[in-house]
């Protein structure tokens, strides 16, 4: 609309506020004042040529990116400023305040001509990138060589970073986190990036440098599995501690009653025998450094009776409390690390018990590198059976070559080469994104390796640990920074042969915390029907589930019961003398019939004559 006339509409946060003659000059004026500090640095202005409009944005929620301002073909970030930065006299915010660096939003970015490097600045250039790696965020930038990996791998890579066990806090001994993981020997990576160093992430390192050989091993590392050296694990590779906090509270109930932390006495309802409470101290809480296993009581607690009548019948003096202790869940074990007793704001006592358990890497535990190369441990092989080099180097981990080509994680390969050079040279190498070109890196690392007597491509000749014979092909080998991820077999393993059942249906419970079974679901059931395996199906659906015997009256077809005093089955409808048969049915079906009955639908079961 404004295109036809000679005026240019100005919009502030989408609202038309004024018309100006020259939009470009107007926008430029605002920018000039912003760099002087007269207008807030949060304000962005864009002249949109196509519409002939000026958009001024000062609202919240815009994504903005910092740029170095270039004026008259010269970067405002000059030599003098750079020197002052390296002397730590000034910081980034100083540059922002002085208009050397400014943040631009998407609309204003349309008005600029940005150079990637200082050498690319032309008279027309208005801005310069702070660093090419700024296109990535903190997470991706803290990894190495992300520019050599497929874009789709970056989110997967930081997904793994989140799951890595490391050193989350220095005061872990005093913390009461619900669950936390602590890697025993965290290492700083042999290759890191500028961002990694700047954020001082090595203070909270979350991985270890594994010596990795890209090789198969009798099929134990196919389909993303990895083979791990047993001796390396025994030396402490990937070892970690898992902390879990159990907590309980002395609750108050209406009527002035409350829970109490004590060692339950035999008069308490639900008392589990003296044996169960041996690990408790006098205060009813486990002692520190006590070894505990599944089912052990760690916090002894008694609660007042659930129903009030019991209380009044015997008077207040008699203890009819019930046991309400906290036990270690099925499959858990460890050592009591820390105990805390404190009060809530409601002045009730609460207890927190931290149980620590040692997690040695085992079959099925998950590991991953910084390049979204994750896998589970498929075999733990004694060191003497692992392949070795002529120098006697035995890899910690064997990675299958099949995981590399189609995932296109070239950064992983480059990290192996670079880290190997870092080891040989004794210097930590730099893997900052876009810092150098790929072939320059390969050249540089190759030279370092060659100088030390290694193959410049990072390949080594390995010998079979079992036969001692040299493998015909050379194998790519080098260190990789690996994470131990928190998905661990010990925390997930679940089996059941017998166990708790649901109250209503008497069918087995579901889920790990209730030590439940695995359901034979509908399509699996259809598969059994399709095979005609009728007895397998009956075994799953009845015998291993909710089998029950009910008495069916031959005359009326209704369910009766067994009278243990008269020692005979009774039908309530037909009275004494009626003939009843014991019939095997699913308890859930009995419940169904009972529920139908509750809705005035009587089902009669007619039994076949034999």
């Amino acid at each position: 609309m404004a295109k036809d006339t000679n005026t240019c509409a100005v919009f502030l946060d989408g609202k038309h506020i004024a018309d100006v003659k020259d939009g470009t000059a107007f926008a430029e004026e605002i920018r000039k004042n912003r760099r002087k500090g007269l207008i807030s640095g949060e304000v962005n202005v864009a002249y949109i040529k196509k519409l002939g409009e000026v958009h001024i944005n000062a609202d919240k929620g815009r994504v903005r990116k910092p740029y170095v301002v270039v004026e008259n073909g010269k970067s405002k970030l000059d030599q003098e400023l750079m020197e002052r930065i390296s002397k730590k006299e000034i910081d980034f915010n100083y540059l922002v305040r002085r208009g050397v660096i400014e943040y631009l939003d998407v609309e204003e970015e349309e008005n600029i001509l940005a150079a990637m490097y200082e050498s690319e600045i032309t008279p027309k250039t208005t801005h310069m990138e702070v660093h090419p790696a700024i296109m990535f965020g903190l997470t991706v930038n803290s990894g190495v060589f992300p520019e050599f990996n497929s874009v789709g791998k970056h989110p997967l890579a930081w997904q793994l970073m989140k799951q890595a066990q490391g050193l989350p806090s220095m005061n872990f001994q005093n913390r009461f986190s619900a669950r936390s993981y602590l890697l025993h020997y965290p290492q700083r990576p042999l290759i890191d990036s500028e961002t990694y160093r700047a954020a001082n992430l090595s203070m909270h390192a979350n991985g270890q440098n594994f010596i990795v050989a890209v090789s198969t091993y009798l099929g134990y590392n196919m389909s993303d599995a990895v083979v791990v050296n047993k001796a390396a694990l025994e030396r402490g590779l990937g070892r970690s501690t898992f902390f879990k906090t159990y907590s309980d509270e002395e609750r108050r109930y209406p009527g002035g009653q409350q829970d109490r932390f004590v060692v339950p006495t035999p008069t308490v309802e639900g008392y589990e025998g003296e044996q169960a409470y041996t690990k408790l101290g006098d205060d009813g809480i486990v002692e520190e450094e006590m070894e505990v296993n599944e089912g052990d009581v760690i916090i002894g607690k008694i609660s007042p009776p659930r129903f009030l009548e019991e209380q009044t019948a015997f008077g207040a003096g008699i203890d009819r409390s019930r046991d309400n202790s906290t036990k270690l869940k099925a499959g858990e074990s460890g050592v009591v690390d820390n105990v805390m007793v404190t009060e809530t704001s409601g002045a009730t006592k609460i207890v927190k018990v931290v149980v620590r358990s040692n997690m040695v890497p085992e079959l099925g535990d998950k590991v991953g590198s910084r390049h979204a190369q994750k896998g589970v441990i498929g075999a733990i092989v004694p060191q003497e059976d692992m392949p070795f080099t002529k120098d006697g180097i035995v890899p910690d981990l064997l990675l299958s070559p099949m995981g590399l080509p189609n995932r296109m994680t070239f950064g992983h390969i480059l990290e192996m080469l670079g880290a190997k050079a870092a080891v040989v040279k004794g210097e930590i190498q730099d893997g900052t994104p876009f810092a150098r070109r790929g072939n320059a890196l390969i050249e540089e690392y190759g030279n370092i390796l060659e100088k030390a007597g290694f193959d410049r491509n990072g390949n080594d000749y390995l010998y079979d640990g079992k036969t001692g014979k040299k493998f015909a092909a050379s194998i790519f080998m080098g260190p990789v920074y690996y994470y131990r991820l928190y998905q661990m077999t010990k925390l997930k393993l679940q089996v059941r042969s017998r166990g708790p059942v649901q109250i209503l249906t008497r069918q087995p419970t579901e889920g790990k915390p209730r030590s439940g079974g695995i359901r034979l679901e509908e399509m699996a059931r259809d598969a059994l029907v399709g095979h005609g395996a009728s007895l397998v199906l009956k075994d799953r659906m009845l015998e291993q589930s909710d089998k029950d015997n009910v008495w069916i009256c031959r005359e009326c077809g209704d369910m009766g019961y067994f009278d243990h005093i008269k020692n005979m089955p009774v039908c309530q409808m037909c009275g004494p003398g009626s003939k009843l048969e014991s019939v095997e049915i699913s308890y859930a079906f009995k419940v169904l019939l009972d529920e139908l009955k509750s809705m005035h639908m009587l089902t009669k079961i007619r039994l076949k004559n034999d």
């Binding site: 059931r525 199906l537 909710d546 049915i585 034999d610």
Partner: protein, 344 residues
């Protein structure tokens, strides 16, 4: 020997195997459906939607089509095939009209006929007028060259005049009702007609069309004209066709089982709540599937008996199912058992 190999065992749950076979194929179809590029007027619904259409026994398919082939002598003659095509393709008055003016208040309408369209369908003004006057006795017709004036004899309200005029323009002048479009295609040097829209009984009445050369994908149309046996074959063929288009196949016995199950009652019944599954004998089996409460209440109301002969109900109560290994039983009467003496 090969005959023996194809034989299934006693008690084999063929229905379940059929369901699994078709189910496996159709999950593949959801993931990857072929889209045929080509003439847009000739849309054939294929893949999973078509399969569902067949199994649900829909009264009208989404894209009904017919294929009419010819005997050797006629098939190679393009002109005579085209002549038959003209007889089949539905032509309405509206499609022969170039432009029209209507005055609803006066109850008059002038149709300016399109000469080209008329000659293509070999129509004359006279013929059209005859057809209209036969169907609409209330109107007076007169013509002036290609212009046909329509006028109501008696005065009528605007609304009914308007509906009548729309009906006049929608009146079929030639062809078979329901055949929206017909195209002459060729395969080798044999010409055939394929149509969009289906009307089996109408097409069969057209001269030059032989019964054995007509095919339609409208299962219900076949059922209405040719009966349930033909409908069974149609279901069979159409199902196999769906998988053939996807470049896979299922064993024909599976399709046969489904076609038989759908038609064994003498009508075409759908698979599902309103058809086969809803007609199950067992109360428990029906209640376990859908509309649980309705089935239990009705069963109580009519005092139904469940004889526990199917699979679902036996799983519910926890009995061995009478399928596969559970099919066979060894039986002996109690009093006969007494006669049997253990071998010493």
């Amino acid at each position: 020997m090969s005959e023996k190999k194809g034989e299934i065992s006693y008690g084999e749950p063929v229905g379940v195997v059929t369901a699994q076979s078709i189910g496996e194929r159709s999950t593949q179809m959801v993931l990857r459906t072929f889209h045929s590029a080509g003439i847009t007027s000739q849309v054939v619904s294929a893949g999973l939607p078509r399969l569902i259409e067949i199994l649900d026994a829909r009264k009208k398919p989404k894209h009904p089509t017919m294929t009419i082939t010819f005997d050797k002598g006629v098939a190679s003659d393009y002109e005579s095939v085209k002549e038959i095509k003209k007889k089949i393709e539905e032509v309405r008055v509206g499609s022969l009209v170039g432009s029209f003016e209507e005055n609803l208040k006066a109850g008059t309408m002038v149709l300016n006929m399109d000469r080209e369209a008329m000659t293509e369908h070999s129509m004359t003004v006279k013929k059209i007028m005859d057809i209209i006057s036969a169907r609409f006795p209330d109107v007076e017709l007169s013509n002036e060259g290609e212009k046909i004036s329509v006028r109501y004899k008696k005065k009528k309200d605007i609304k009914s005049v308007r509906t009548a005029f729309v009906n006049i323009r929608g009146e079929i002048v030639s062809g078979v009702e329901g055949i929206e479009k017909a195209v002459v295609n060729s395969e080798g040097n044999a010409f055939y007609i394929s149509t969009s829209g289906s009307n089996l009984s109408g097409v069969l009445e057209v001269d030059g069309v032989k019964e054995e050369n007509v095919y339609t994908n409208d299962v219900f149309g076949i059922f209405n004209v040719l009966g349930v046996e033909a409908a069974r074959t149609a279901i069979l063929n159409e199902m196999m066709q769906v998988f053939a288009i996807e470049d896979t196949k299922i064993n024909v016995k599976h399709a046969m089982l489904i076609a038989d199950a759908m038609t064994h009652g003498g009508t075409v019944k759908s698979i599902g709540r309103h058809g086969l599954a809803g007609d199950k004998e067992s109360v428990f089996a029906r209640a376990a599937y859908e509309e649980t409460i309705k089935h239990f209440v009705n069963a109580a109301f009519f005092s139904e008996t469940d004889r526990l002969r199917g699979v679902a109900e036996n799983i519910i109560i926890g009995r061995q199912i009478s399928v596969g290994t559970g099919r066979v039983k060894l039986m002996i009467k109690n009093k006969d058992l007494e006669k049997v003496k253990p071998a010493d």
